[in-house]
Symmetry: C2
Subunit: 241 residues, 2 copies
């Protein structure tokens, strides 16, 4: 992979910028974080960011690439090991969930190297409005989603594939909120106040498996679009101004 050039070693300017950017993106978002904020926190010159990365857009991508590369490689390693051990037999759903989400939660638990901050940022970025961010993420995930989807198809041969993909999607959402919520939204998480990802990991894994193995909804998903209500709920909520 040509991700890293040979020259990364010496001056830490490059890494300082990436660390500062990762941290600030989490606190203020991409558009809410200026190059001046990043270079100020990194204590480097403003022009250094454009010198090392070319543009803000490229910097954003590099922030994700340097960590996603490791994460998804580790996920595939875990899946490979399990499939090798199973010797051709389908895996158990719990194993697949563990390989995908357990690996992510372990990275989030590595607070020493900023793993928690990155996972929170990642969870939020899945739904980022910016087009180039989403397509970039989708490309980075293509391989690993392909592999895990196939494993789930084999593990659950009686469940329609669409259903499996949706539940995979739901699980991703639950995990993203579990991570982002510990310091983000206070709607609910403000009441539990548990910051340790090692503590939420078993809770989340139980929830995910329960959802994945839930009974299927009634067969004909197509037809019930009909009862889509006749009275429009109009939000006529007048207000101050």
């Amino acid at each position: 992979m040509t991700a890293l050039e040979t020259k990364t070693a010496n001056g830490d300017t490059r890494e300082r910028i990436l660390d500062a950017a990762e941290s600030l993106f989490l606190d203020h978002g991409f558009e809410g974080t200026s190059m001046r904020m990043i270079t100020a926190q990194a204590e480097v010159n403003l022009a250094a960011a454009n010198y090392h990365f070319g543009s803000k857009e490229a910097l954003i991508q590099e922030v994700f690439r340097r960590r996603l590369y490791w994460l998804n490689r580790e996920r595939l390693r875990a899946l490979d090991a399990m499939e090798r051990e199973a010797g051709g037999a389908p895996l158990k759903p719990s194993q697949i969930v563990e390989a995908f989400f357990g690996t992510a939660l372990r990275l989030a638990g590595d607070t020493k190297h900023g793993g928690m901050r990155f996972m929170r940022l990642l969870g939020r970025t899945y739904t980022d409005p910016t087009q180039f961010v989403r397509t970039f993420l989708a490309a980075e995930y293509a391989d690993v989603v392909e592999r895990f989807s196939a494993a789930l198809f084999r593990a659950l041969p009686d469940v329609p594939r669409d259903e499996i993909l949706w539940r995979f999607h739901f699980m991703l959402g639950a995990m993203a909120y579990a991570l982002a919520g510990t310091d983000a939204l206070q709607i609910i998480a403000g009441k539990v106040a548990d910051d340790d990802p090692a503590a939420i990991a078993p809770r989340l894994m139980s929830f995910l498996l329960g959802g994945l193995r839930a009974p299927l909804p009634e067969k004909n998903v197509k037809k019930n679009a009909a009862r889509a209500r006749g009275a429009g709920p109009r939000a006529k909520g007048r207000s101050a101004a």
Copy 2:
């Protein structure tokens, strides 16, 4: 963009601005949407936005308030009706989930009045980095979360309250992704290509109930924080201080 179909609103400048803002916030985020973009799409003068709302921040809040008011009132109405019918007995978890998430999904299904666009925007905004947005949302949700949490506590008396709150949180995340993902992230949803919220509703409800009723993780959630320190793949090497 299917957004601007012929004449939506009559002539009301205020509503035109809110509709345009809601639509653009979904496509470009808050910071990525300028007042000029909003007033241009609404076909009103630039100064009209500040005239009617005072500031961009106040405009953002009004976009949410006019719809959240209706949504959360409807949620409480559904819960009230069920509790009245139960006559003092605890509700079933499925009823509570239906009152909270079913109501939201029905609003999302009201594509005629932009309900789908708003629910996607709302799901994304739960994890918005901006402080004032999150605190505003938390305040808008305070009552309804209080009521539904209490109902869940009564419905599941044997489940620790922390666990219930976490699972409530996980369910919110799954729904947010389910809605936002239908046009946002293509990581997984790109493969299923089903835009109709009426079609994903039964899928999501099954998943949520499965997760909510999943077996609890091993008892002592406190103790197993210890094993996270010793083992597990480290994010390793490069960088950071």
